[in-house]
């Protein structure tokens, strides 16, 4: 999202004049399109909503591809040999906990408690990083038994590659968005520490909360899809 800095706006709500002349390497000041902060916030929320709709289509089409491949004759044969990694339980718990921390941070700043906001955002960053680590552990376990060299040579019989890779694609796509959310989350945590959010103005925290809950909901949908289509829970150590 567009991180327009509310502090740039002058007290009377007018945009300060943009200086003329040669610009430096830094981004020049924009002509602030919104004078009214309430309309600006509404625009940011709508923008986030449109962005999330686009992401929902992205995840929906990936899930569709997963299902078609899963129920193709080749997929059905290969899926018999692969189990759902138990690490998913841990990563799900971590993501849910991070969502709770994010929500708690938003409620704290609404109550004017900046200290709790900073603490909750840091917890959220830590939990998200732990989620990524657990996912990486999960993928390495799943692909451990795969003969990657044979796979590159085109030997489809080497291992149940499709099942393992489709699992990795689906969950890695989600993880990429978690990583994508971590960067603004760290920036917002820094700004929170600098005291740039108040009970009245905390647009960044609000948008982050929306995005993070969306990722949580998508994750739960992915888990439901995997539970419905994978034969059983297993050790996550590759093909059985």
């Amino acid at each position: 999202m567009d991180p327009i800095d509310a502090s740039r706006r002058s007290d009377d709500g007018e945009t300060p004049p943009v200086p003329r002349g040669r610009t430096s390497w830094r981004l020049p000041a924009a002509s602030e399109p919104f004078v009214d902060p309430a309309r600006r916030l509404a625009a940011l929320r709508l923008g986030m909503g449109v962005f999330l709709a686009s992401l929902a289509v992205l995840f929906g089409s990936t899930a569709l591809a997963f299902l078609v491949v899963r129920f193709s004759p080749e997929g059905a044969r290969q899926w018999r040999g692969i189990a759902l990694p138990w690490e998913l339980v841990l990563s799900t718990a971590l993501l849910v906990a991070s969502s709770i921390a994010c929500e708690s941070g938003l409620r704290a700043i609404r109550a004017g408690d900046r200290g709790i906001l900073v603490l909750r955002l840091r917890q959220c960053v830590g939990l998200a990083l732990a989620f990524i680590v657990v996912q990486a552990w999960c993928w390495s376990g799943l692909l451990r038994g795969v003969d990657v060299i044979s796979a590159f040579r085109g030997d489809a019989e080497a291992a149940p590659l499709v099942a393992a890779w489709m699992f990795v694609v689906l969950t890695a796509l989600h993880a990429a968005h978690v990583v994508g959310g971590l960067l603004p989350m760290m920036s917002i945590a820094r700004r929170a520490k600098e005291g740039r959010y108040t009970a009245a103005a905390h647009d960044g925290v609000l948008l982050l909360r929306n995005y993070w809950h969306f990722l949580g909901a998508i994750w739960l949908a992915i888990i439901l899809l995997l539970v419905a289509t994978m034969p059983a829970w297993g050790g996550g150590t590759g093909p059985t």
């Binding site: 040669r22 610009t23 020049p28 625009a43 709508l46 686009s54 289509v57 992205l58 491949v69 004759p73």
Partner: protein
């Protein structure tokens, strides 16, 4: 040797440069990192036109190679290189030219000014979109360095998973990145139109170009992610050899076609809808007549966007899809013709009894109506199950989509470029040369592509390097037509560039337009409007009057009741 003459008055100091968006800041960085939507629009336009030049050169090489039925009409153009050429021509023209040309280039420039806003809702995201476009284009260039690709612009599996050309992955990454650029632009436009309309501009007082951009943005946001994941899956399949789409590895190639066309058919509307928006502006402004059937045109844009999501299967009638599915897709395809026809009839009704000025933009607008009608009506042959079996993968298809994508979308873009050129540059181009060039483009286009309808209906397959000698006469005519068209575009480039140095200074409103962009200076100032303007009916030309002193049109605000009565315009 000079002497100091104290009796002569000192020369006046040079007048300060006029402050507009072009002169507001200077230097390369002031452009590279600009947040001004107008500069970003201009950068898109330059980038798109450079890509158009490159794609056009590939097209001319293809047409020249096809002058004879045998190999190597041009020495060195082997069968493999021919495949690379048509692939590059298609990929560049679709992904780098037509998709961004109207929304990202003209849309970026015009949309906020038409709304009376200072910028789009998210200026930084807008700049990021442009840099993503550049990154996508850079990957496309990288693919050439790494050995190019010969899959056709559709990247059909198993071509894209099995080809030995090594440029496939870079170009797929490039198109993937271009998709993000498109999504972000769409997001920005949706929010801008929702949240930055000025007082008085209700949804049904919005210029029709904005309705078209809005409908396009919805498609960009909701269809492009499907392309993104599809291309990502091809990359994964090509690298890991797992069977997702490739039948040799247990994959499903029809799944690829479903995914690809779920994006790429709506993408046709990403190309044509904003073009239709431009034509609505051109026809009404240059006829000096209120647009006929405003609401019908507005709603037909939305209807086309919705139908666009439901017809992708008509690209797959010969793929083994079930007869029931084929019938359903065929029926829905025919339904798209209803909103399209509504637009054409309304444009014709606008022209009727209008005071038509045959300026260059208007000539392009009229060309659009003719070419789009031919392109649309020949689409019915391809939407009908029986005739599609015969015409599928022939030159008839090539001719049809060129009539729609080039004859309609690109011609409208060129028309829009001429329409807003005085606003963008502050200079008028030579009208006489503009009309000559438009005529050459129109004639050249029809000679090139109408001939291909004949070729296709007689069975000439598309993408063939060698062909039967009986087709040669058509190929020669088609190639000559392409040269005439290229001459028309070369003349266009020449007089537009010439106008930058030697063109007459453009007035604020050279054509008699009524929407807000014609009420700010040419070129517009950095902030567009000092205060948010009030809005009347943007197609009411009765309040427009020629002003000798301005050498342009002015809006008689005193004649417009919606502008005179404070508060009468209402909110939104």
């Amino acid at each position: 040797m000079t002497t100091l003459d104290l009796t002569r008055p000192a020369p006046p100091p040079p007048a300060p440069a006029e402050d507009n968006y072009l002169t507001h800041t200077r230097g390369f960085l002031s452009w590279a990192f600009t947040l001004d939507h107008k500069r970003i629009g201009v950068m898109y336009m330059v980038s798109v036109l450079v890509s158009f030049f490159v794609g056009g050169i590939f097209a001319l090489l293809l047409r020249t190679e096809l002058l004879t039925p045998g190999p190597e009409t041009i020495p060195g153009i082997t069968a493999d290189r021919y495949n690379v050429l048509f692939t590059l021509h298609g990929a560049i023209m679709v992904f780098l030219v037509i998709i961004p040309s109207v929304p990202a280039a003209l849309g970026n420039f015009v949309l906020p000014i038409m709304l009376g806003a200072k910028d789009v809702a998210f200026p930084r995201l807008n700049l990021a979109s442009y840099w993503l476009w550049l990154a996508g284009a850079a990957f496309t260039v990288l693919s050439l360095i790494m050995g190019a690709f010969d899959t056709g612009w559709t990247f059909y599996v198993p071509y894209s998973t099995k080809t030995t050309f090594e440029g496939v992955i870079p170009v797929l990454i490039g198109v993937f990145i271009l998709g993000f650029s498109s999504i972000f632009t769409g997001m920005n436009f949706v929010v801008t139109i929702h949240k930055l309309r000025p007082p008085g501009m209700t949804w049904f007082r919005m210029p029709l170009f904005l309705w078209a951009l809005y409908a396009t943005a919805i498609i960009q946001v909701l269809a492009t992610p499907v392309l993104a994941i599809t291309l990502l899956l091809i990359i994964i399949e090509r690298v890991t050899h797992i069977g997702i789409f490739d039948p040799a590895w247990g994959g499903d190639p029809v799944l690829y076609q479903h995914f690809f066309w779920f994006y790429s058919h709506p993408a046709v509307y990403i190309m044509i809808l904003p073009a239709m928006g431009i034509v609505s502006e051109l026809i009404s402004v240059h006829s000096h007549r209120h647009i006929f059937g405003y609401r019908f045109i507005a709603f037909s844009s939305v209807a086309i966007a919705i139908f666009g999501f439901l017809v992708w299967g008509h690209h797959m009638f010969t793929s083994g899809q079930s007869p029931l599915m084929n019938t359903i897709f065929s029926a829905i395809t025919f339904s798209v013709s209803i909103p399209s026809a509504i637009k054409v009839f309304n444009w014709l009704a606008t022209l009727y009894k209008g005071s038509i000025s045959l300026n260059t933009p208007m000539l392009y607008g009229l060309s659009f109506i003719i070419l789009f009608s031919i392109g649309g009506l020949t689409g019915l042959h391809l939407g009908a199950l029986a005739t599609d079996i015969h015409l599928h993968d022939t030159y008839f298809v090539v001719a049809h989509f060129h009539y729609v994508m080039m004859g309609s979308a690109l011609i409208a873009m060129i028309g829009g470029l001429h329409h807003w050129w005085p606003k963008m540059t502050g200079r008028m181009y030579d009208e006489r040369w503009g009309r000559i060039a438009c005529l050459l483009v129109f004639v050249g286009f029809n000679v090139t592509f109408f001939t291909q309808f004949l070729l296709g209906s007689q069975g000439m397959p598309r993408r063939y390097y060698l062909y039967q000698p009986e087709f040669q006469v058509y190929h020669v005519i088609s190639t000559l037509g392409s040269y005439v068209m290229a001459l028309g575009f070369a003349i266009t480039a020449a007089y537009l560039l010439h106008s930058l140095r030697a063109g007459r200074k453009a007035p604020a409103n050279p054509w008699g337009g009524r929407s807000l962009e014609w009420q700010c200076a040419s070129p517009p100032p950095h902030d567009n409007f000092a205060t948010t303007p009030r809005v009347g009916d943007c197609y009411d030309f009765s309040v427009i009057q020629w002003d000798e002193r301005e050498q342009g049109y002015i809006v008689r605000r005193d004649l417009d009741p919606s502008l005179r009565a404070p508060g009468a315009a209402g909110g939104h």
